[in-house]
Symmetry: C2
Subunit: 317 residues, 2 copies
C-alpha cells in the first residue's frame, strides 16, 4: 500500500496546485473572499482522487481529467456550504463554516458562485462536452434530492433502512458515481462501462456514508475536526438510529429522550446491542459490491481502484 | 402596437404551456413542491419573450430557442428565490416568497434545484452546446457578482453612480444580454453579431433596472403586487438615492433619517428636486443605446426588437 499512498498524495498535491492556480477574481470581495476561503480548506480530496484514478484506468486526456476533478470538487464544496447553512453547522474541517464566519446571505451566494464556476470548468472541456455536462448535472440534481430527503427525514420516526439507503445513494453516491463514470464518458466508452463505473461509485458512496455515520459516533473528535454525536441530537435517521428504533424500541426511546446522556452512553448502547457490528457489516457489503463492479475492467486498471476502495474503507477521519 | 402585443402574448402563452409540460418529479416533496410553486407563479416572462424575439431575428430552430428560453427563465427564478432570502423579502408577485412560505433551508435547496434543472435543459440542446453553456454560465456568474455588489453597497454612503451602473449591468444586464445573444450563438453568427446582441441586452437591462427603481417609488402598489419604498428603508443605493445624497446632502440626510417619513414624502422630494426627471432621462439613454445596437440587423428583424424595447420602457409593473 505504500506505493498507492504515494500515488494518491501525488494526485492530491497536483490537484491542490491546479485549484490554487484557478483564477478567482479579487472583486467583488463579498462573493470571492468566502469562495477563496472555502477552496483553501484542506479537504481530503476524495472525489478528485477518484476522478484521476478512473481517468488513469481509461487513459483519458490528463488536462480534461483535471477539469473533471475540479468541477466535481467544486460541486462538492458548493453542497457543503449550503448544507452547513441548512443543518446549522458551525464547523467544517476544523474551521468555521462560511455562514458562521460571515452570514447566511454571503454563504448562499458563495455556494451559487462555486456551482457556476464548476459549470464553466466542465463546459471548457472540448471532447464529449454535452454528454459530460448532462451526466454531471443529473448527478448534481440527485445530490439536491438526497439533501431534500435528509431534511425531510429529520425527526421522522417512520423512516426505514431502505428510505435511508435511497437517501444516501442520492446524497453521497450519485456524485461519487459521477467521479468514477465521467472519465469513461470523456473517453467515449460503452454505456455498459459507464454504468458499471457509476454503480461502482454509488456503492462506494453508500459504504463511505455508512462509515461516515459510524465515525460520527465512534471516531476521534480531534481527527474529525469537529464535535461528534450531532446526528443524534439533530434527529438524523442514520442506519444505527433506525435499527435502534426498530429493534430496541423502549431502550432507545429512554436513551434518546434523556438529554443528560453523553456520546459514551450512545457508544456503549450501539456496541452492546451489536448495532455497531451490524452496521459495519452493511458498509462492508457495499464496498464488496463496489469491488465486483470494477472486476470487468482490464486487470492492471483494477488494482488502483481496489486500493482506493480499501483506503476509503479504512479511513479514520 | 396591437399586433406586437398579440405576438408577445402568444409567446408568453406558448412558453407557459412548455414550462407546465416540463416534468417535475413528485418526490422528494421537500425539493419539488417549492419548485412547482415558484414556476407556477405568473411572471412577466420578459426574458423568455426576448429569447424568442431574438430567435425569430436569427431564425433559430424553434425547439432549441424554447430550451434557451426555459433555461434562462429558470436561472432568473433561481436568483429570485435566493435574493429574496438574502434581502429578507416576504412577497414576490403578490405571493409569499419561498423562504417565507416554507423556510430558508427549503428555499436554498429549491433555488439550487432550479439552477441545476436549467443546466440540464441547456445541455439538452444538440447544436453549439458548449458555446451556449459557456456564454450562459458566464452570464450566471456575473449575476452572482451583481448580487454580491448589491449586498456590499447596502448602507454604503460612498457608492457612486458608476458603481451602481456596474452593479446593475451585472445583476440585471448580463442575463438580458444572454437572452439576446444566445440565439445568435445557437445560429453560429459572428462574434461581432453576438457581442452586439449582448450589448443591446445589457443596455436594455440597465434601462429596465433604472425603470424598476423608479417604479419602486412612483409605481402603483396594486399593480406591483408588493409594498413600495423598501429600497430606501433597506439602504439600497439606487441612482435616485445616490443623486439625492451627492447633490442634496443635508435635505436628504434629514429626510432619510426621519423614520416618520412616508412614501409620499420621498416622491415629493425626488420630483421637486428634479431627481426623478434626471433618472428618467438616464433610463431613456440606455434604451436609446439598446436601439442603436440592433440597427446593424436586417431591417425586418429590427422592428420586433424595437417594439420590445418600447414595451419594456413603458411598463407600469
Amino acid at each position: 500500500m505504500i506505493e498507492f499512498n504515494e500515488l494518491t498524495d501525488f494526485i492530491r498535491k497536483e490537484f491542490n496546485r491546479e485549484l490554487n492556480k484557478y483564477p478567482i477574481p479579487k472583486k467583488p470581495r463579498y462573493l470571492y473572499d468566502p469562495i477563496r476561503y472555502t477552496l483553501k480548506g484542506a479537504g481530503k480530496r476524495i472525489r478528485p482522487v477518484l476522478v484521476h484514478l478512473s481517468g488513469r484506468a481509461f487513459q483519458g486526456d490528463p488536462d480534461s481529467i483535471m477539469k473533471i476533478a475540479l468541477s466535481v470538487e467544486l460541486v462538492h464544496n458548493f453542497t457543503l456550504i449550503h448544507d452547513d447553512i441548512m443543518d446549522n453547522d458551525d464547523k467544517r474541517r476544523g474551521k468555521p463554516t462560511v455562514h458562521y464566519q460571515w452570514d447566511n446571505a454571503t454563504a448562499i451566494l458563495a455556494g451559487d458562485g462555486i456551482f457556476t464556476m464548476s459549470q464553466l470548468i466542465m463546459s471548457s472541456i472540448s471532447e464529449q462536452t454535452d454528454q459530460l455536462l448532462r451526466f454531471f448535472n443529473q448527478a448534481s440534481l440527485e445530490v439536491c434530492e438526497g439533501q431534500a430527503m435528509d431534511k425531510e427525514y429529520e425527526n421522522n420516526l417512520t423512516i426505514t433502512s431502505d428510505d435511508y439507503l435511497e437517501m444516501i445513494e442520492k446524497k453521497t453516491g450519485a456524485l461519487l458515481g459521477a467521479c468514477a463514470a465521467l472519465p469513461a464518458v470523456l473517453c467515449d466508452r460503452s454505456d455498459i462501462t459507464v454504468e458499471a463505473m457509476d454503480i461502482f461509485g454509488r456503492n462506494l458512496g453508500k459504504g463511505f456514508q455508512i462509515h461516515d455515520d459510524l465515525l460520527e459516533i465512534f471516531g476521534d473528535p480531534d481527527k474529525m475536526g469537529k464535535s461528534l454525536g450531532s446526528d443524534i441530537t439533530e434527529g438524523k435517521q442514520t442506519l444505527m438510529v433506525i435499527i435502534a428504533r426498530e429493534h430496541f424500541k423502549e431502550e432507545w426511546a429512554a436513551l434518546s429522550n434523556d438529554k443528560g446522556k453523553k456520546l459514551e452512553d450512545y457508544r456503549n448502547f450501539f456496541s452492546r446491542n451489536e448495532i455497531e457490528k451490524e452496521v459495519r457489516e452493511s458498509a462492508k457489503e457495499y464496498f464488496k459490491n463496489a469491488v465486483q463492479q470494477i472486476e470487468t475492467l482490464p486487470h492492471n486498471h483494477q488494482i488502483e481502484l481496489k486500493n482506493f476502495i480499501s483506503m476509503v474503507q479504512n479511513r479514520s477521519s
